[in-house]
């Protein structure tokens, strides 16, 4: 035990438990009430489709969100960043949820693929693929074999490489103060593992994983922007979650070396990546709108509709833009707001919800079409995943010191001033 040990307050445990129970009850209720095992092709058994589509949306979104916080650690490590060291244990704690959420996600994906849910992934329908030139050409890639293998490899490697990064960090607590040579060797080792993680992250989150998990819901359509767009979405949400945890722990008197200067920088990340997300969102939209090819515009017709008839996701589509672009842009523009605990917390909640909506409108139009709902089941399932994250983070921050006091860059972080 040391003086940086954090004891979870009762309210945190209570809310974790409430969210987990509510979420679990919702999912179990949904499983029976929506007859989740029913065959769902061609618009039959919409309720069953809803069950799996909602689980797909939530598991993928929350998994990629927690995984992006390890990406944050790795890129700042590779950039020889010093400022983030004082708050480093927070993204570490968030990324420690990757193995458990990865397992949950993998089980859901297995159920969808092995359960032959053609209502979620049209390319699972072997007969339809045989008569479809486009799907036939993609069948090496969009097949259960590749899907399951690559998903498994991705989740396992995210977990293992992330665990190695966390272990390197936690080892410094035990090994005592480092002299110049040991510190240099440790930083080098840290950088090597961080770069391995980043390369693998590029091969998965920034390319293949969003293609097979989300974009293949609309298998005829493709966009080269898509994976970047999903990455930006989950990364900015991850930065928001880090901000929320920093403010929470600061309000409990922890993280004594994390000042408003650090929060200011996290706020800059939230601001910058909201704009980056918009850039990708708009680039994808404008090119398709401009070239006006029927096979490409299909994706947006399913969402906003046409000039004559607005689509079922018209409202969600523009809400997405308001929550994730206009809101963060106008609220986080000023320095004072990026340093205000209240404003940053509220904006972070808005961004996390906004990108949840973003993934909602990626998944639902291709699976549920006009039958999509935003009701108790959607929010209840989200509660389960939030509960899992709160449980995992709570476990990590109580088991380990919140201050990496022997990190060679710790002093640089303590005197950080912008």
């Amino acid at each position: 035990m040391n003086n940086h040990q954090f004891v979870l307050p009762g309210s945190y445990k209570k809310w974790t438990l409430i969210l987990l129970i509510v979420g679990l009850l919702t999912i179990v209720y949904g499983f029976f009430a929506f007859d989740a095992t029913a065959h769902g092709g061609h618009g039959q058994n919409v309720a069953a489709t809803r069950f799996w589509a909602v689980l797909l949306q939530n598991s993928v979104y929350w998994l990629l969100l927690v995984n992006a916080s390890m990406f944050f650690i790795c890129v700042t490590t590779m950039a020889m960043g010093g400022w983030q060291v004082a708050l480093r244990r927070v993204p570490e704690a968030i990324s420690s949820v990757v193995p458990i959420l990865g397992l949950i996600t993998f089980i859901i994906l297995l159920c969808i693929v092995l359960g032959h849910r053609t209502d979620i992934y049209h390319w699972l329908d072997a007969e339809a693929v045989a008569h479809d030139k486009i799907l036939k050409a993609k069948s090496a890639f969009l097949s259960p074999g590749f899907y399951i293998t690559w998903s498994a490899i991705s989740i396992v490697l995210w977990s293992l490489l992330g665990r190695k990064m966390r272990k390197l960090s936690l080892d410094t607590d035990k090994n005592g103060t480092m002299d110049y040579e040991t510190g240099k060797a440790w930083i080098w080792k840290n950088t090597v593992w961080a770069s391995l993680y980043t390369v693998f992250f590029g091969l998965t989150v920034a390319s293949t994983i969003p293609w097979i998990w989300l974009m293949s819901i609309d298998p005829h359509w493709y966009s080269t922007m898509y994976s970047w767009y999903v990455f930006a979405s989950t990364f900015v949400a991850s930065m928001s979650l880090i901000a929320i945890y920093i403010i929470y722990l600061r309000s409990k008197g922890q993280l004594e070396y994390v000042t408003d200067e650090h929060l200011h920088d996290i706020g800059k990340f939230m601001f910058a990546f909201s704009v980056f997300w918009t850039y990708l969102w708009f680039s994808q939209y404008m090119l398709i709108w401009y070239s006006n090819q029927p096979e490409e515009t299909r994706y947006f017709v399913d969402r906003i509709g046409t000039a004559e008839k607005s689509g079922p996701f018209h409202g969600i589509f523009f809400l997405n833009l308001a929550l994730n672009f206009l809101g963060p842009l106008l609220i986080l523009m000023k320095k004072a707001t990026k340093k205000s605990w209240t404003v940053v917390t509220l904006t972070a909640v808005m961004i996390i919800f906004g990108h949840w909506i973003d993934v909602f409108q990626m998944v639902m139009p291709g699976t549920l079409h006009e039958h999509a709902e935003l009701g108790f089941f959607e929010f209840g399932s989200a509660a389960f995943f939030i509960g899992v994250i709160m449980w995992g983070v709570g476990r990590y921050i109580t088991k380990n010191s919140l201050v990496p006091k022997n990190h060679p860059f710790m002093k640089e972080s303590m005197i950080h001033h912008t």
Partner: protein, 196 residues
């Protein structure tokens, strides 16, 4: 140009760690700091000197929305009123196609506007000259200029700076505003200075 001739007590420091408490003590003693000249941006010095936050970014925001408005009104006037063209069957009011230009003009207006405002605030322009209190302020000295009024006893201020740790102290009578001039005609090189 308006500034007028004033008397200054100038103290030069060679250490940031000495400079900060000196700034604090000089302010506490009630002397008026004209400015502190440093070879590089010193974190927190503006705060220590009690200078208010700059409004440059507010100006930047105003320039930016001016750029946005200019772009949107001009393009929409051209394409819907002045010279409507059928481009690929798109509606005349084709907002998505205009966003890149709108973005560019927003950035251009705010960037150029902020640079010009910055130059104006700092009196920076070709041929605009200001008095230099110490040539080594651009090299390795932190130079603090204290403005004297009629009632200030400059010996007292010099002693104060001596105690605060200044390495070099002198009294200068200088123009506070700017004037038009040319460096090649007026500048005395540092190597020609007596103390070199």
């Amino acid at each position: 140009m308006a500034g007028g001739i004033k008397k200054f007590v100038v103290g030069s420091f060679d250490d940031e760690a000495v400079l900060f408490p000196a700034v604090k003590n000089v302010r506490k003693a009630g002397y008026k700091i004209h400015d502190v000249y440093t070879p590089f941006p010193v974190h927190g010095l503006d705060h220590a000197m009690g200078i208010r936050e700059t409004s440059l970014h507010t100006a930047g925001f105003i320039y930016a929305i001016t750029g946005t408005t200019t772009a949107l009104t001009f393009i929409s006037w051209v394409f819907t009123k002045d010279w409507p063209l059928n481009i690929g069957g798109k509606p005349h009011f084709a907002l998505p196609a205009w966003i890149p230009i709108t973005f560019e003009l927003t950035v251009l207006f705010s960037a150029v506007g902020m640079v010009l405002t910055f130059c104006y605030l700092c009196n920076l322009a070709p041929f605009v000259k200001k008095h230099h209190f110490h040539p080594r302020a651009t090299d390795d000295l932190f130079v603090m200029a204290i403005e004297c009024s009629d009632k200030t006893d400059d010996n007292e201020v010099q002693n104060f700076l001596q105690n605060a740790g200044a390495k070099e102290i002198n009294v200068q009578v200088a123009e506070t505003g700017w004037w038009i001039g040319r460096y090649d005609k007026e500048q005395k090189l540092y190597r020609d200075e007596p103390g070199y």
